[in-house]
Amino acid sequence: MSDVPFKNPGWAGNTGEFDLTEEQVRGDDFVGERPAHGGHASGAATMPFMLPDRDPEAPLFEGEYQERFEKILTRYPDKGAALLPTLGLVQELRGHVSPESMDRAAALLGLAPADVRGVATFYTMYNKRPVGRHLVQVCTNISCNLCGAEDVLAAFLRYTDTELGETSEDGNFTVIEAECLAACGFPTCVQINSRYYENVTPVDVAKIVEHLKGQSGADQ
């Protein structure tokens, strides 16, 4: 299969366990393991946000990440279309998308730097400034709100000792309000880095925060 550029065997199937229980899916474990080398180009940025390597001087992509970037390019009829997945990769590596990274992505893809700035600022998922190791996004839109999302948000702010949108002093947490996360039947939904926590009540918050304190962002 590998002679066809679109086919990239070796996705998480080599490493991931797929027979999951309900509890695992909704509970503590994410689906499968997430290899840093990515596998299928479609899987871009499905990895943990923040890997230990956050050296701002390093080239935009190296090694496995360069390979993933090249795989992404094979999926689109023009280079510019790879911009969103490329910025996703940048964020996965560095935790946020800095103006410098935007310019370097523009150079890689042959785009005008202003275009890339325009795109990066349009989408909410690109962090334009560094965030805590755990980015906590509490849905407060209507369905969650009806079921007490604001209390959950307040509990997160209390237990992480931060202000809304600010990063805690130990660099562990940034808590923000999120728009609907499409888990309305399981309120309140909280997204922490790439994972959803569903049916969260204020009582659960202390446990979640305690659990996260022992983890780096990459464990998420």
Partner: protein, 430 residues
């Protein structure tokens, strides 16, 4: 390990394997009859596939309810340029949570639907534009695509039919407006997700400037079942004008919120009281939003008369939308919830059109003033007039979506607004 809640009133076709992680394996999917419909479809001409879907009467499940077969027939019959099929998996309408479940529990069903759709519109490449926040669904789907490539269901010469179809999962980056079809095409091209003026319509000039069709996840998931069993089979469910089954996403103040697959035309009140186990704490029903935040609210009396199909919802002055039923009991604070929805639209407006960019922000500010007990009765007239100017004056319908909850809530729950304005009293807590 039953899916969070199931009901014996359901007709589970698309959601049959919700809660069963084995279904994600390509081998299990094939054992259970998967990819048979693809083989059948590839043995038929593209126009014959379109005819089957037309005969089923399937209507788009993304909100507008446009007949899918008719949409497909707009695509050029001769292929001069590449065609693209886009699967709209950018589910972000508040209240909606069906597509995520369809993708994470049964990814191959969607892939099979995409492949059949691609064949019907003569496309060689399918992009599944999956919402960025859905890391899990993205991963499950990308893994399933990989497995299907490995088994030869995607790629070159599928089932020795000579057809080549590729599938790419494209992860979005967090923008509600990318769920609008032309916004999605811009986003896929690596641009800001700003909707485009129509015409030209996507079937003429779509993604990458080529003829394209955009279908919702749930629409495409229904396709394999329709192709396998025929259009008449699908018509046994639902009503004459709204055939088939639909996933209803119920959230809010009910005992058992969740996804329920029911035939269209199901009575709303039975959905709440029977299927969803009634209202939370036995409270009284106050209001329902039957189709996601972009449709008008209805009060309890209208809800009792409402049947859940495209026509039945229009009869009580609302819309089925994507069937996201948000239920509010007597403790709900309507003004606050409407303000929260408008805040959402103000956040998500792309800013291209003045009525939307300015209108969403000012509507939110006036509502906030009323909520804080500082509003005046004139504010209600201002809101009605202002939102009226936001209908039909913009490129896409995001700003129309603001008018629906604001106007309907002022008409039906004027008491709540007046209580805040005159006495600073809230008529709800949630």
């Amino acid at each position: 390990m039953a899916y969070p809640y199931v009901s014996d009133r359901e007709v589970r076709i698309l959601s049959k394997y919700f809660g069963d992680p084995k279904q994600r394996h390509v081998d299990t999917y094939v054992e259970r009859g998967g990819y048979k419909a693809l083989e059948k479809a590839l043995g038929m001409g593209p126009d014959d596939v379109v005819d089957v879907v037309k005969s089923s009467g399937l209507r788009g499940r993304g909100g507008a309810g446009f007949p899918t077969g008719v949409k497909w027939s707009f695509m050029p019959k001769e292929q001069r340029k590449p065609h693209y099929l886009l699967c709209n998996a950018d589910e972000s309408e508040p209240g909606t949570f069906k597509d995520r479940e369809l993708m994470r529990w049964d990814p191959h069903q969607l892939i099979e639907g995409c492949l059949i759709g691609a064949h019907a519109i003569r496309a060689q490449h399918v992009y599944i534009y999956c919402r960025g926040e859905f890391f899990e669904a993205n991963q499950v789907l990308a893994r399933a695509v990989e497995d299907a490539y490995g088994k030869g269901y995607i790629g070159e010469n599928i089932f020795d039919s000579g057809h080549t179809i590729d599938v790419t999962v494209h992860q979005g980056a967090g923008a509600y407006i990318c769920g609008e079809e032309t916004g999605m095409m811009n986003s896929l091209e690596g641009k800001r997700g700003e909707p485009r003026i129509k015409p030209p319509f996507p079937a003429a000039v779509g993604a990458f400037g080529k003829p394209s069709t955009i279908n919702n996840v749930e629409t495409l998931c229904a396709i394999p079942h329709i192709v396998a069993n025929g259009g008449e089979w699908y018509r046994q469910y639902g009503t004459e004008k709204s055939p088939g089954t639909k996933l209803f996403c119920v959230s809010g103040h009910v005992n058992k919120p969740g996804n329920y697959e029911l035939p269209l035309g199901f009575p709303l009140i039975e959905l709440i009281e029977d299927v969803c186990g009634g209202m939370r704490d036995g409270n009284a029903l106050k209001a329902v939003i039957p189709g996601g935040s972009s449709v008008p609210l209805i009060n309890a009396e209208e809800a009792r008369a409402c049947s859940l199909d495209y026509e039945g919802c229009l009869e009580v002055g609302t819309m089925l939308g994507c069937a996201s039923v948000i239920v509010m009991d007597e403790t709900a604070d309507i003004v606050k919830q409407v303000r929260r929805m408008v805040d959402f639209y103000a956040h998500e407006s792309c800013g291209q059109c003045t009525p939307c960019r300015e209108g969403t922000t000012w509507t939110a500010q006036i509502l906030r003033r009323i909520e804080n007990g500082k509003g005046t009765e004139d504010d209600l007239d201002t809101l009605m007039e202002m939102t009226q100017n936001m209908v039909g004056t913009t490129i896409c319908v995001l700003s129309d979506s603001v008018a629906a909850p604001v106007q309907s809530s002022i008409e039906k729950f004027r008491d709540e607004y007046l209580a805040l304005i005159r006495r600073g009293e809230r008529m709800g807590v949630a």
